[in-house]
Amino acid sequence: MARVNNWQIGRDMSYWYPESRPKRQFAAIFDTNKCIACQTCTLACKTTWTSGVGQEYMLWNNVETKPYGFYPLGWDVKLLAELGAQQWKGDVYTGRTVFEAARPGERALGWRPEEYDYAHPNVGEDDCAGSIEKGAAFVEQHMAWFFYLARICNHCTYPACLASCPRGSIYKRPEDGIVVVDQGRCRGYQECVKACPYKKVFFNPMTGTSEKCIACFPKIEQEQQPQCFVNCIGKIRMAGFISRPEDANPDNPIDYLVHVRKIAKPLFPQLGLEPNVYYIPPIHVPTHFTRQMFGPGIEKAIAEYRNADKDLAGLLALFGSSESIMHRWRREGDVVMGLKEDGTEIVRVPLKEPVHERVAYDASLKVQRTNCP
């Protein structure tokens, strides 16, 4: 085991390989407050990548309803139970990561979902599990809560799948940090399936190899965002590249939201993988839940988001506004712009969309029209 630095947990930790960061690291931000679980992202991914024989059950992208939804079943709670209660002290995680808690003979703490665990995505998870007091539906504040969690591979800085592969069949692309399984080399031992805490590596029973999200790297190479990003009708996602905190560039949309404003948080940072998909936490969920899921700083992130100034609101308005990767951004008054790496403008978006109100009845065509707010 080597010692590496994981800024998300505020300390050095043990990892199977020495620290070796890519030239630039693919990263993404998902705004959970905008997701409506329409599953358009899921289908965009499914039709693009996993329509083959043996891939039927695979959802490289999925959206599940928290706290009762899982794909595969219990993916997070099972590992948290195995890991046991752990502690943060401020921004420093003092508990054990999955690498530090590995059982003898293993490289990471993990478990293997069985086939049945993948069998019923989304079924029943929107049912309210709590009891609702009579009349609660009619008061302003909901007595029960849920939110939608969209998930892809986190293309972690310290991937457990990569660490666990005894053959070195999994690697991080040095040019963008995307984690891929070499399909020519994989022998289907499923060590990666067991080790990935997010359960985003899938065994293909027809080829006998394991497969996973590739962040649509052919699109990334063309400076375009992945399929699940550009098809998102809720415009909850933005793809780009992230710097280490000490190198944060406020002009970079990802750096700005993660490092400068600190409103986007990693998923289960305590597991130690330094995942590179960041979530703007749901504002209406009890923070004792979101703190466990997204780490410290949740309250401040929510306060920032609720009181978004023009810069923050402007950058959030850029989400879903272009298929191109926006390496930089700039706000001028009430307009925000997404820019290429060299500063060339890709798109400009008003902070506030203009409202066009149509008359309810078009006399010329003799038709009624509906206005959507």
């Binding site: 990548w49 996993t50 329509s51 083959g52 024989v53 043996g54 891939q55 039927e56 003898p104 003979g105 293993e106 490289r107 293997r112 979902p113 069985e114 086939e115 993948y118 666990s164 005894p166 053959r167 070195g168 399909q183 020519g184 080399r185 994989c186 022998r187 289907g188 031992y189 499923q190 060590e191 399936v193 899938f202 065994f203 293909n204 029973p205 027809m206 080829t207 006998g208 190899t209 497969e211």
Partner: protein, 288 residues
């Protein structure tokens, strides 16, 4: 407990009898003898000619040297018989395994076995754990899942899940005629392991694979696949024949080393998680 004189006499008589027989009981073999075989090598594990060969009981030990390790013993012994026709050598492996596992699925693994020899026949053999850099070992691997396909299990999802239904695959499009190159190309597009020529990913025509390794984690397909094999399920486990080329330089009367490995799918054994032997002397008998 104290022995009275009558019991002591009986005990002494038994002890003397046991000692007197000691000279006649054959000592357990210390090396595996490749016996000559007249005619074609028996490729079927149930061929009666195998029963004429005394089995060598090779004790299996845990692979607990490199991660991921196996830390709980499963198969304790593999019984080995060998025959050669001078050009090829056949290994007959038999072991106990209560559960037949031949379907690779998520969190489900298949039964398998392997024979390993040094790539070069020399007194100084490479490390028994998959060889070492610059000093390769040759491995012949048999998997129960491949045997099932060779024995007729179709390469379809329904062979794994008989009740599975699927609405549409991209290669089912009407514009792609059945059997056409265009349809095959579309199938490969959604099967990257097959598209890349990963030879364990495609439909199998043989239940064995020839492999080379130069240390743990370096297993790679051999440049040519010349070995053959067949496995059958027995009442207690598996009986498998693996036939490979005679190790170059192994002349009658000469010795090399051989190692074996067995995987029990029900015990989640795969890859490095296996029961294995160290090197064992392999001796090519001189034809009488």
């Amino acid at each position: 407990m104290q022995l009275d004189s009558r019991h002591f006499s009986v005990f002494l008589a038994l002890l003397l009898a046991a000692c007197s027989q000691g000279g006649t009981v054959a000592a357990p073999p210390t090396e595996i003898a490749i016996q000559p075989c007249a005619g074609t090598l028996p490729a079927d594990p149930l061929d009666p000619r195998w029963q004429a060969v005394a089995p060598f009981p090779a004790p299996l030990i845990l692979q607990d040297m490199v991660e991921p390790r196996l830390l709980e013993t499963s198969t304790r012994e593999v019984r080995v018989r060998t025959l050669s026709d001078g050009a090829r050598v056949a290994f007959h492996l038999e072991w106990d395994d209560a559960t037949k596992e031949d379907l690779p699925m998520p969190a489900s693994f298949v039964d398998a076995c392997a024979v390993q020899l040094p790539a070069k026949t020399a007194p100084d053999v490479p490390a028994p754990q998959m060889g070492e850099p610059g000093r390769a070992v040759e491995i012949v691997l048999w998997r129960a899942s491949w045997q099932a396909v060779v024995d007729g299990r179709p390469d379809t999802l329904q062979a794994i899940h008989p009740n599975a239904t699927t609405d549409h695959y991209p290669f089912d499009a009407a514009s792609l005629p059945e059997g056409s190159d265009a349809r095959r190309a579309m199938q490969l597009r959604y099967s990257p392991a097959r598209a890349l020529g990963n030879d364990l990913a495609g439909p199998r025509e043989t239940p064995v694979q020839d492999l080379l390794a130069e240390g743990p984690g370096t297993l790679a397909p051999a440049s040519a696949h010349t070995s053959t094999g067949k496995g059958v399920r027995t009442a207690n486990g598996w009986s498998v024949v693996l036939v490979r080329a005679m190790p170059p330089g192994l002349a009658p009367g000469a010795r090399t080393q051989v190692a074996f490995a067995v995987w029990q799918g029900a015990h989640e054994e795969t890859g490095a998680r296996k029961m294995r032997t160290g090197w064992m002397p392999l001796f090519l008998e001189v034809k009488p």
